[in-house]
Symmetry: C2
Subunit: 349 residues, 2 copies
């Protein structure tokens, strides 16, 4: 019960923050069902974030998590960007897109003092970070209202680093997990570790509670993660078909097809490795490209291709984020799914 | 108890066959302790195999497993081989090795009628294959003496294929596993699946018992695998430091060091992807190379570098096979380790 006490919730189940496929509605449903709902803020401007937080405040009195990326913004590299557009040029021609008219996208902003100002109005009980942690000053600001701080580790080294830098619990993000790898000490994806190997080794290495993530799709998966020593779990993929998720029609259709069985880590859509269902772009260019611009600048060049393909009902250029185990995806309310996931935990008490 | 009944053993624990680091001694110890000891035959000639089987017969009355590769032997490709030696030439120069004097190695032979002849003299209770299955004719020969047949699947598709081709149980080999990937329907390693995601999906897809492999290091790992629906487990890495293993001094020293935390899939040592501890060759050339000759022909060019480096106490050119979780490695007898792994299973009965 260590994680439940720490976060003030009934079940040690965190709904993974998934920027682009969910907002406050999913988080509210999970928090109200006794888990930890998460609001992903990586792709929200400050006003949109304030609006979403206002919804959270109005619709739940339970603890919830607010998630931020904390990458360093890269310099724009004109020659790399141009090489990347060159690599994509056959697709621009195919879709009749003027490559010179593509604007740099809004991208994703790292956690900032301005974001902390907005957060302070709402004082969320839990704040989680991806790609490491923000500055000590920003950490202290979040601490001030008593928030618990979480972040993801993809290796034992990253878990030790996060513990040393003051997180309250660490999310052990296994190789199976969908979306962006939380890696921040190494960019070598050949060394990424599966959940089954990562969780027990991080449990052994740190003193704080460990939350298992990656490949956990149902109550059996939760039991297995607990057997490996996890204090709780973070589950994303299983929520992708829930009524409260904003997952696109194209993404939903592919998640329900056999194509969802094959995923890969790819940097084509954002510039950082993230796991998604293999689609045309990933197959034709290869899922990892040295030419893709640095995170988050790679997004802009793909955006018009994605829009055009999706308007034709195709996911050929969409980031179809998903983990390696889509067997838990259900088209039900997230509150029902959360209660189903938690049922054996309740019976065990 | 379905797997125990099928294989005629006390515990649903298979010691993974590990060619190059063990022979009959390890297999005998595990079988006599109530698990399934495995004799790897991929690198044994027929005489050596007969000798090892005679030892098994003399030293245990319990069921044991005999393991074979069943790859297709490739044509020797002189230009690819020469390109590969060219890539390795700085190392040949560094070690004073005459690249032209290197002989093609003995390599590894696939299962054959001649091997079946030898096996028939001993009628092992279990025969397992890697890289798919042999011909229907050879399968029928093995069946004739009542042997149970196992093989490894790295995807749901491979598990369904193996079930359709008559295996008695399927080994779900997760991404975390050490040594050669059992893949046979796809060569795309970017699509390899972690144990946590692979096991439940194969359990759902097939009717035969599923044996979990990859990242399982101790009794907690066994409990977790069972929670995911596995009928048993196959464990390799944890046995590498056992007294009965023939793991080299260099390999043992590295297994006991922090270096063992970083492994990667590499095709540099044999031509097929296999997981080993990252060493100098893997770091400098990159763990996967398109230049490396087809399996098993890549072995020959590395052999003299490996021998020279090992004579200096270095594992820079050795295949340091290991899975992603070396936390279960213990310098004890394999019979003690097997009983430790099985202890909670006994208490549960």
């Amino acid at each position: 019960m260590i994680l439940q006490k720490l976060l003030g919730v009934e079940f040690p189940i965190i709904q993974a923050p998934m920027a682009g496929v969910q907002g406050s509605a999913l988080a509210v449903a999970v928090s109200n069902a006794g888990g930890v709902g998460s609001l992903p803020c990586a792709m929200l401007g400050l006003d949109a974030m304030r609006q979403e937080l206002a919804v959270m405040k109005a619709q739940t009195t339970k603890p919830y998590n607010v998630n931020f990326f904390c990458h360093a913004q890269p310099e724009f590299d004109a020659s790399r960007d141009s090489a990347w557009r060159q690599a994509l040029s056959p697709y621009y021609i195919e879709y009749g897109i003027d490559a010179n008219a593509i604007l740099p996208g809004p991208g994703r902003s790292p956690f900032s003092a301005a974001a902390a100002d907005v957060l302070e109005e709402f004082k969320p009980a839990v704040v989680s970070f991806h790609f490491g942690l923000p500055t000590a000053e920003l950490m202290a600001r979040v601490r001030r209202w008593g928030a618990r701080i979480l972040s993801s580790a993809t290796t034992v080294e990253e878990a030790l680093w996060l513990e040393a830098h003051g997180v309250d619990a660490v999310i052990a993000q296994g190789f199976e997990a969908g979306g962006h790898r939380g890696s921040f000490l190494s960019e070598d994806i050949s060394a990424q570790v599966g959940t089954f190997a990562l969780v027990p080794q991080i449990v052994e290495a740190v003193k704080i509670p460990v939350i298992a993530a990656g490949g956990i799709a149902d109550a059996k998966g939760i039991a297995a993660a607990m057997a490996l020593g996890a204090a709780g779990v973070q589950i994303g993929t299983a929520y992708l078909l829930c009524a409260e998720a904003t997952t696109s029609a194209v993404h939903r259709a592919i998640l329900k097809s056999d194509a969802a069985r094959v995923t890969a880590m790819t940097n084509l859509f954002s510039g950082r490795p993230a796991r998604g269902i293999a689609n045309r772009l990933m197959r034709e260019i290869g899922p990892m490209s040295a030419t893709a611009p640095a995170f988050p600048l790679a997004t802009a060049a793909i955006a018009p291709l994605r829009a055009k393909a999706e308007s034709l009902g195709k996911g050929d250029f969409s980031p179809l984020w998903a983990g390696q185990n889509t067997s838990g995806c259900k088209e039900v309310s997230a509150s029902i799914l959360t209660r189903e996931l938690a049922a054996p935990l309740q019976n065990a008490r």
